[in-house]
Symmetry: C2
Subunit: 475 residues, 2 copies
């Protein structure tokens, strides 16, 4: 077969996969009183941008610099008094250091250039996001930051978190600060009291951002209301979109693969086969487990929750014993009982194209080149007429946003490659690393977002008998 | 070769291509005084959602209903006086009719269901957006709308356009109303005066939207500032994202293919070949034409403008005579002189995968099934290991957003399939129709957004000699 492809850009397995127009160097300057969720927002946003758009991201937290430099100096509320000159000097120094390191890092990000020689224009194909995570509550301080970062050529976006709801503030204090970093070994009640005092010190100098000529996003009451000014361009829009979906309710996500399928047993990939006997057993166990662990609390009261599956039979059948509404006829949808179910085609397993329905052995025999390419770079490898992990990341981006906006526990009955991506995103992995994640059959993975990162627990519902490989295709 | 694919969903050419999680029925209720660009926003948003996400969209403009029912009754400012009872009745009737038709239309949109039988949950794979385009300036009126549309089960989002900049208002009046519809045959100055009087009548009863329990988006001063409340979910986020990029500056877009390439001459598709002699001639002509028609106005003053190309040599070389900055070395980017250039890989031609570099005759011989599939449904057809038009639409969505946010004239030197999609989007075509658009070589297409839709002009820079097919692969 004749093949001509003189395209000089590496496209070994298909068209360019970096479809995002990444043309932005952005510095996000957090603004807000303590305990407004600033660090949480910065970390989550940074994970989202780097995972789904591949742009390098880094958070520069001034508190970390301050603790490092102040060392053993007591940093209770008095340390944050605007009249405490020594402390003021130390705090300013910490800011200076953090911001210079941010500037150096941003300068070190070089645009990638096309290699077409003399006629080549400047490629816009790069992007990077730095977060300056501190209170930055005065207009003067913000002006100082703008001047300092000017040499990076980056766009500055202020991200202000405003919260007037005392309940949310108290929850944030407890979730984020008490017992953490500044209050190691301090009695929690005393710590909360001290922390509230610290907030009051900041309130005295707080000026909300309002300047029409600046770019800013304001999150009010943990995201109920959002206002923005001069937010344009690809990455800024994506940032705004993510913030619109993010909320502070830390409800857990549950990831489960389907029960063992006929294809799993035969070592074939893809397809749309039914469950084996063991798969059916897992479906029943999953229903029971979800009922006692997700749909009901310790007292047996109903907990509203969500249930998502792919459009493939093996996930739909695996989920069918989880408490859910019964559909009696077209249009006659009953009210949901416990878990509100939804089928997403985005959650369908990675599509192996021409290799769909084959075993890895068959692929190795029929397409040795494909097998070698996949082995060389499993992350970027795209199956002939099928998909790559990079494609998967692109089609799971809207799912990730949907996940973010859920305020109820969510169980996703999905597939191995799908859960590798979702797990990698939630746990803050670099995108290339998600291919290594273990997602075994017969297991529910519970992931709970916390201030510092996500926590995971695994529940094996069927013990694997010794010497039985449930899923020979899983490599 | 063994092939097993028991997937029951039609995936003739690859994985599911509808990656958007379309789970939303949405009614967008416009809010704002006359001449705030409401109709323009509704129309553009509707085009964007239906083209890129395939959701059916319809705009219900109460003014159209009013003009239809009031017929020959004079509808000058006095008609809009809150004390004119007869007119009030007619205006209310028009609203009633428009809203009932909206409700009927929304009810007629049925969710698509998966055909997996008894275990099938309700698929969320549907979506539709209706626009209720009227002033809706009182809280009472908005309450009435919410009650009326309740039976549709759709989510209601209020979209308020606020403008205090008198210049923008005057421009909107002139662009949209004078000489149009309500003022056929009326002296323009008198019309503007009358229209301002009409606005004053509305101002008396205007209440800005502020209710925390409703979903709303506020556009302030033509999009400089945006505020939103309770905007969550896939389509609402996309709507917000589009509105963040949309602006009211009606600058033109210029679309040009590259000059004739070696592959064009040989009838081959794809590749990354250089220009033929005629292609080089076009490059020179395009540079001259752009200089006098885009980069300079009638007085010869410089007009700041933008120049985008794909990453393929034939577009970069075609654009190289257009006035642009000279790059003297790595990192030594000079200031832009006239057209600010950028290379986007998203603009690369549709990737023909295994067929890249072949002629259509060769494809027909080697892959008769592929040729037949493509003929049967060119829009959905995906080249083996390559792309379909649907893929192209997905990767051009960020480009469309980038185009929307440009406030300067923009020349895109691209490719046939790319320009079919961009043209189809701008001209408000149904997405499936874009494959039919004629995008000849040697031609610049100028597209100017107006209130009623986009206007087009075509400039042929090299006359095709008789009986010469410049581009035999173009079918």
């Amino acid at each position: 077969m004749k093949r001509v492809n003189s395209n000089p850009y590496p496209q070994t397995w298909g068209p360019p996969t970096t479809y995002a127009t990444r043309t932005d160097k952005i510095i996000i300057v957090m603004v807000g009183l303590p305990a407004r969720g600033k660090s949480y927002i910065a970390r989550r946003l940074s994970q989202y941008i780097s995972f789904f758009y591949g742009a390098p991201c880094r958070v520069f937290n001034v508190g970390d610099y301050r603790r490092r430099s102040a060392g053993s100096v007591v940093q209770d509320a008095s340390f944050f008094d605007p009249n405490n000159e020594e402390a003021l000097r130390m705090r300013h120094e910490a800011s200076e250091t953090a911001l210079s390191e941010l500037v150096d890092w941003m300068k070190s990000i070089e645009p990638k250039r096309l290699d077409t020689g003399e006629d080549c224009y400047i490629s816009g194909d790069f992007g990077a996001v730095a977060f300056f995570d501190a209170t930055n509550t005065s207009a003067e301080r913000r002006k100082w930051i703008i001047d300092k970062v000017l040499p990076t050529g980056a766009k500055v976006i202020f991200l202000e978190s405003i919260c007037r709801d005392e309940q949310i503030i108290t929850r944030n204090i407890i979730a984020s600060k008490v017992g953490v970093k500044d209050y190691v070994g301090v009695d929690p009640e005393a710590a909360v009291r001290d922390f509230r005092e610290r907030i009051e010190k900041y309130e005295r100098v707080y000026e909300e951002i309002h300047e029409k000529e600046l770019s800013w996003i304001k999150l009010i009451d943990a995201g109920r209301e959002i206002a923005m000014n001069n937010i344009r361009g690809f990455l800024p829009s994506k940032i705004a979109q993510f913030l619109m979906n993010l909320h502070m309710t830390r409800t857990p996500f549950y990831l489960s693969r389907h029960g063992q399928s006929e294809y799993n047993r035969l070592g074939k990939i893809g397809g749309d086969s039914l469950l084996t006997e063991m798969g059916e057993e897992y479906a029943i166990k999953l229903g029971e487990w979800a009922s006692t662990n997700i749909c009901h609390d310790a007292e047996g009261s109903i907990v509203p929750a969500r249930l998502w599956t792919s459009s493939l039979q093996r996930t739909i059948r695996t989920a069918r014993h989880v408490p859910h509404p019964v559909i009696t006829g077209p249009g006659a949808e009953t009210d949901w009982i416990q878990m509100r179910p939804k089928v997403f085609r985005n959650i369908d397993e990675i599509f192996a194209g021409t290799c769909d329905g084959m075993t890895y052995e068959e692929i190795g025999e029929l397409y040795p080149d494909e097998a070698a390419s996949r082995k060389a770079d499993k992350f970027a490898y795209r199956y002939p007429r099928g998909e790559s992990y990079i494609d998967l990341i692109a089609r799971l981006e809207p799912i990730a946003l949907e996940m973010e906006r859920q305020r109820e526990p969510l169980l996703i009955v999905g597939h191995q490659a799908i859960h590798r991506v979702l797990y990698g995103y939630l746990m803050g992995f670099p995108r290339e690393k998600c291919i290594k994640v273990e997602i075994p059959l017969n297991t529910v993975i519970k992931i709970t977002p916390t201030e510092a990162g996500c926590e995971e627990e695994r529940f094996t519902l069927i013990q694997e008998p010794p010497n039985v490989n449930l899923d020979p295709a899983s490599h």
